[in-house]
């Protein structure tokens, strides 16, 4: 899988729509996922994330629009193409009465992995840290171990493109972090990962993030770009030794590179949204000196993704 980073998009959709009767699950989805990236698909429950994954994996037929996965419409997928896809389902679907090893072996068989696969499977179990539990029945595993077993089963045939549907749902923050470490490792090996999550903060681990809401893809951005989109630019925090008065704030809002209103944090601290932090910091320092304000701190802020997401959704609702 290493050195498999070819140029181009591994997934492309154009006006992709899926309806169930009157209900529109996914509406006019336009999206490109570059090969070799971690693409996060973020949104609240029921926003159409799983439906999109099912459309991309060929489980659902689109109502309208076009799509290309691995350069093909899923309608034209051969067995070989299907072997290039790994799919982790939200819930645990493996066999509770089989052991960890037997489940993994079963999955390897139906993906057609060669019979001399013991070493490969052991390596996978090492990767998900289940080597010591290989003889345990799946029904005796904890929730987190079941997710790790599912992940190992998804990787058993070394797929090029991984669709992971809420892989971190319902597991503790430490294990969630570990999962993202696994994903980064997989990316480093050349896999492309399409990951849905309702944990907005996980967007930070992605190369690109698609934000879904009400069946619509609101935007695709890098994590930083997402923040900029949410706040209208980069956010810079300024703390001074003197009080920042209302005339100062009005002046700040009047600067050409400052967007929107100044956010008051305290008498001596505000947050301003600027076009680009890289150029704005120097200009803000100049402005402070001119106003006889002693700058104690000036830095680019990274608002939590929860706030970013809420802002984006609020904007969307306001636009509607």
């Amino acid at each position: 899988m290493k050195n498999n980073k070819l140029a181009g998009n591994i997934v492309e959709t154009q006006g992709l729509t899926k309806t169930f009767g009157e209900y529109i699950a996914v509406q006019s989805l336009n999206m490109q996922v570059p090969r070799g990236t971690i693409f996060g698909f973020v949104g609240p429950s029921g926003c159409g994330k799983t439906t999109t994954v099912r459309l991309l994996t060929g489980i659902y037929k689109p109502t309208s629009g076009s799509l290309s996965v691995l350069g093909k419409n899923p309608v034209d997928f051969s067995k070989l193409d299907r072997g290039k896809i790994g799919y982790l389902i939200q819930q645990f679907v493996l066999y509770p009465d089989l052991t960890v090893w037997e489940n993994l072996n079963f999955t390897a068989s139906f993906y057609g992995v060669g019979i001399f696969r013991g070493k490969h499977l052991n390596k996978l179990l090492d990767f998900v840290e289940l080597s010591g539990d290989k003889n345990k029945l799946a029904r005796d595993l904890s929730g987190g171990m079941k997710r790790r077993l599912s992940l190992a089963a998804t990787l058993v045939h070394n797929p090029e493109l991984l669709f992971l549907d809420e892989p971190t749902a319902g597991i503790d923050p430490i294990l969630r972090r570990k999962f993202w470490d696994y994903f980064k490792e997989l990316q480093a090996e050349g896999h492309t990962l399409f990951i849905t999550t309702q944990y907005v903060s996980e967007a930070a681990f992605c190369d690109l993030v698609g934000v879904m809401y009400g069946g619509r893809l609101l935007m695709i951005e890098t994590p930083d770009g997402l923040r900029r989109k949410a706040y209208g630019g980069d956010v810079i925090g300024i703390r001074t030794n003197e009080e920042i008065r209302s005339e100062h704030r009005q002046q700040l809002e009047g600067l050409p590179f400052v967007r929107g209103k100044v956010k008051i944090i305290s008498d001596q601290e505000v947050e301003v949204t600027v076009d680009a932090a890289s150029t704005a910091v120097a200009m803000l320092l100049e402005w402070s000196q001119a106003q006889k304000l002693t700058v104690e701190m000036m830095e680019q802020k990274s608002p939590p993704f929860d706030d970013v997401f809420v802002r984006i959704i609020e904007k969307e609702i306001a636009n509607d």
Binding site: T57, G58, K61, V75, K79, L80, Y87, V93, Y95, Y111
Partner: protein, 440 residues
């Protein structure tokens, strides 16, 4: 009081939940209520209103000499003896019996009158090809009634004949008496003519004496029952009731095992959600189904081996036919039963529903496969239902091989194999629909 209400509320939680779950499965309720009722109703329709009829072949050396008697006899027994034919070749008749083209072969004695006159019962040889003790008993009863009727008819004809024969004899006796009187008067004269009359009288008396001698020397039992019947089956094995039912029980067990295991297989996977993974994976419905068939066949064959060994060693049930035929019959039975089980699994929505369908099939198999009621006694439309069950074919095959010592009956084998293949194809199509993406 509050505690009591809390107690009631806690009970109501399960009351509501259980009832809601049950009523969410209308198909299950329908099968639970209507299934057994329907089976009983159909069984009522299938049950015979009169005894079994027997297709009969009469074997006589010279068909023309006995045709009239056989026709008359068969007509008087038309409620039991049907489609009767008269055959001169015994071997040909027995071959027809072995191939189920006739139910009973009656070999008429060659020279019955001479045999009886030699103070021996004229024996009718009656052949059947039954292994069911109840059916053998039925044939014995029919044969008994048959022979009683022949004896009655024979006695009647003998009495009529004797009455007819005794008329000239009586005239002769009267003449002899007259002659005796004349002779008594003519004795003193001593003429030649009178001497001739005396000679005639002596002849008549001698004749009468001979008839009386024959009559007196005949045994009373021969006189009362001049004909007897010897009944033989084509198979020499004497079966107990357990022995007869053992192959059917083996078939029902194997069918039920296969259907139960297979019926839970796919429905569980559908419920667990792994089917979604199959849709994305490069595995096809055909590969999945073949894999499942092979694994269950492997397991069921081991099970069949154990059940057969127990039947042979513990119950002393013979396998008179070739073992390879027995194995072939078991494999085709398992294959077809698995097909039926997978079909149940594919159309069921829950485990409970699948188990319920399997139980209904077992019930239907007990009633309609010939296990409970002989297929030949069932009414025609219901036999279609009987022949749609693998157990019906299985019982026929195993009884033939185990108890009759025959090989696999070809038509029955072709029948069950065809059903098995059709079921495989249906299962394949249904699984494809379930497993493969909506694009397919």
């Amino acid at each position: 009081m509050i505690r009591f209400f809390s107690f009631l509320i806690r009970i109501s939680s399960f009351l509501g939940k259980e009832l809601t779950e049950i009523f969410r499965q209308p198909k299950l309720i329908l099968t639970l209520v209507l299934g057994p009722f329907l089976i009983m109703f159909l069984f009522g329709l299938a049950s015979p209103s009169q005894g079994r009829t027997l297709r009969t072949t009469f074997v006589v050396t010279d068909p023309n000499s006995f045709k009239e008697q056989i026709d008359s006899f068969a007509t008087s027994f038309s409620a039991v003896l049907v489609d009767y034919v008269i055959e001169s070749d015994k071997e040909k008749a027995l071959a027809a019996l072995a191939h189920d083209r006739t139910d009973m072969v009656i070999v008429v004695p060659d020279v019955p009158l001479e045999t009886i006159q030699n103070n021996q019962q004229a024996e009718f040889l009656i052949y059947h090809n039954e292994i069911d003790p109840f059916q053998i008993g039925y044939i014995h009863s029919v044969a008994q009634v048959y022979i009683e009727e022949i004896n009655r008819q024979f006695l009647q004809s003998v009495v009529e004949q004797e009455q007819e024969d005794s008329a000239p004899l009586q005239t002769n006796m009267e003449t002899a008496i007259v002659k005796m009187q004349t002779l008594r008067g003519a004795i003193p004269a001593g003429d030649v003519n009178t001497a001739k009359q005396a000679a005639d009288l002596e002849k008549d008396l001698t004749n009468l004496n001979e008839k009386l001698t024959t009559f007196r020397t005949l045994g009373a039992d021969i006189l009362v029952r001049p004909f007897s019947a010897k009944i033989s089956g084509l198979s020499d094995v004497q079966l107990t009731v357990i022995g007869f039912f053992a192959p059917a029980v083996i078939v029902l067990l194997l069918q039920h095992f296969s259907i139960t295991f297979a019926s839970l297989s796919i429905v569980r996977e559908t419920r667990s959600g792994i089917m979604e993974l199959f849709k994305v994976a490069p595995i096809t419905a055909f590969e999945t189904l073949v894999g499942k068939y092979i694994s269950y066949l492997f397991f069921e064959i081991i099970l069949a081996g154990i059940v057969t060994a127990l039947a042979v060693w513990l119950l002393k049930i013979p396998i008179l036919g070739p073992l390879q035929d027995y194995a072939l019959a078991v494999v085709v039975l398992l294959f077809t039963s698995l097909g039926l089980g997978f079909l149940i699994s594919l159309i069921s929505e829950t485990d409970t529903q699948a188990v319920q369908y399997s139980m209904l099939l077992l019930l239907a198999s007990i009633f309609f496969s010939g296990f409970f009621l002989d297929l030949r006694l069932m009414k025609e439309p219901i036999t279609f239902l009987a022949w749609s069950l693998p157990a019906t074919y299985g019982i026929r095959m195993l009884q033939n091989i185990m108890l009759r010592g025959s090989s696999v009956p070809q038509l029955v084998f072709l029948g069950i194999a065809s059903i098995g293949i059709v079921l495989f194809l249906i299962d394949w199509l249904l699984l494809r629909k379930k497993m493969e993406s909506q694009y397919s």
